[in-house]
């Protein structure tokens, strides 16, 4: 059982990275990005393209994707998504849904439907034995470490820095924040830029851990969405907790029956949604 829980927590690390960008964008702009999963896949394919098409060394390709994601996120928010914000959430949902379809078809056109992965030089299969019957993978542990570090960094940024103060101010009252001299359009763009760095990290690690294909996005979105809802909207440590609960629930399901894992996660999500719709840790500010 302990092995199952540990494996669930490791899986939760990956789900945390899927969900943090969503949590940040919702926390600052009340924007639900329905293309989140497809952007994760796009991040993975961007790294794969850098390695296999441009011939960049793995490290260089990964390093190039992060600033590119930052710039892409900034421009996307500034010139596309800002126009969809308002009291009605429908325009942003429709636009990000449209982006989701465009990304899936673009990737299908460019890379075909074949699953691909990022070459890790054996890292994905490395591990060490904890007991005779239980060993831990190096890559999943790395992913969990990155997830905890990303959550802590984001919480620190949000609660301890002037940028975070701006994020919280525009989220609280955009009109008054602008009256103070903030340019909400730029603050939103910065939040999305940071979210896209997290999204690209999630994509790269997903591509290193397993395979990715253009059609994977919706399922990854679902995991991200479930983690955010279970943890509580807009709370980063809550998102991490939600992702861990989801990961553990799926692993318990897998242990019961190999076909039950994903379904078990959905079940826990539904129970939380019914019993505690605001999430388990809904405190939105540090």
């Amino acid at each position: 059982m302990i092995e199952t829980i540990v494996q669930g927590l490791l899986l939760g690390g990956l789900y945390t990275l899927f969900a943090l960008g969503q949590s940040l964008m919702f926390g600052v702009m009340r924007l639900t990005n329905t293309a989140q999963g497809d952007f994760i896949v796009l991040g993975a394919f961007a790294a794969i393209a850098g390695i296999s098409v441009l011939g960049l060394p793995v490290g260089w390709a990964l390093a190039a994707v992060l600033p590119a994601a930052f710039g892409f996120g900034y421009l996307l928010q500034r010139y596309v998504l800002n126009g969809t914000l308002g009291r009605d959430p429908l325009p942003s949902l429709v636009v990000t849904f449209g982006l989701s379809i465009v990304i899936q078809n673009l990737l299908l056109e460019l890379f075909s439907a074949d699953p691909r992965s990022i070459e890790t030089g054996g890292l994905a299969s490395e591990g060490f034995a904890v007991t005779d019957s239980f060993s831990l993978g190096v890559l999943p542990l790395m992913i969990l470490t990155v997830a905890i570090a990303a959550t802590a960094s984001l919480q620190w940024l949000f609660t301890r820095t002037a940028i975070g103060r701006s994020f919280r101010a525009v989220s609280d009252d955009r009109e008054i924040a602008e009256l103070m001299g903030l340019q909400s359009a730029k603050v939103y763009a910065l939040a999305t830029a940071i979210a896209f760095v997290l999204i690209s990290i999630a994509g790269i690690l997903q591509g290193m851990r397993t395979t990715v294909s253009p059609a994977d996005g919706p399922l990854l979105l679902l995991f991200a969405f479930e983690a955010v809802i279970i943890g509580g909207m807009g709370s980063f440590w809550g998102t991490l907790s939600g992702a861990m609960i989801l990961g553990v629930a799926q692993q318990i399901g897998f242990r019961a029956d190999p076909g039950w894992g994903i379904w078990f996660g959905h079940l826990v999500f539904l129970v939380v949604l019914v019993v505690r719709p605001q999430g388990l840790f809904p405190k939105t500010r540090g």
Partner: protein
Amino acid sequence: MSTILSTHGLQAFYGDAQALFGIEFELAQGEMVAIIGANGAGKSTFLKSLTGLVKTSKDSIRLNGESIGGLPPGQIVRRGLALVPEGRRLFPSLTVEENLLMGATAGRTGPWNLKRLFSLFPILEEKRLSPGTALSGGQQQMVALGRALMSNPEILLCDELSLGLAPIVIREIYKVMPSITAEGMTVVIVEQDVSMAQQVSQRVYCFQEGKVSLQGRSEDLTREQISQAYFGI
């Protein structure tokens, strides 16, 4: 005294509904002016127009001789116009200190900083790490006033400072006004309490249905004149 702010034929709209009808307004350097009027007379809309929250035509507002009508709020606050909004509107997820620091976003320099504000309102230093909205109404008003002062404005616009506050708290708030105006800051207050408005200001404008129905020196205006201008009877 030289004119620092003026409006000429200022009109403002909410969608198709017109809220202000050709407001002519002048403010001299270092002056304290009160705007009075019934609910819906256009007082708050006027302040929102001055600060860019309600769009107006370019040449209808002049600050230090420069047209500022239609500029976004961020550019107007950088030019030295700060608003204490009606209902205070503190940022609920920010502490008292963070709320005050938000006021300094515009990056203007001047005498107002955290240290000076805390000496003006010592209670805020004690509660600087509390959420702004966890304070009493009067303390929240101090934060809202302090937040506007942190932008080191040339002109401070106060919208209904006394709204929802007990008389003793209102007196406490107005007691600090001389410290604020002592260094020549120009102040406009929108106030429902007519006697308080007359007491603290040098000149009064009375608004009625989006127009200026009366203006004059505070000490010269009689109760009858104000009643007529206020209610239109």
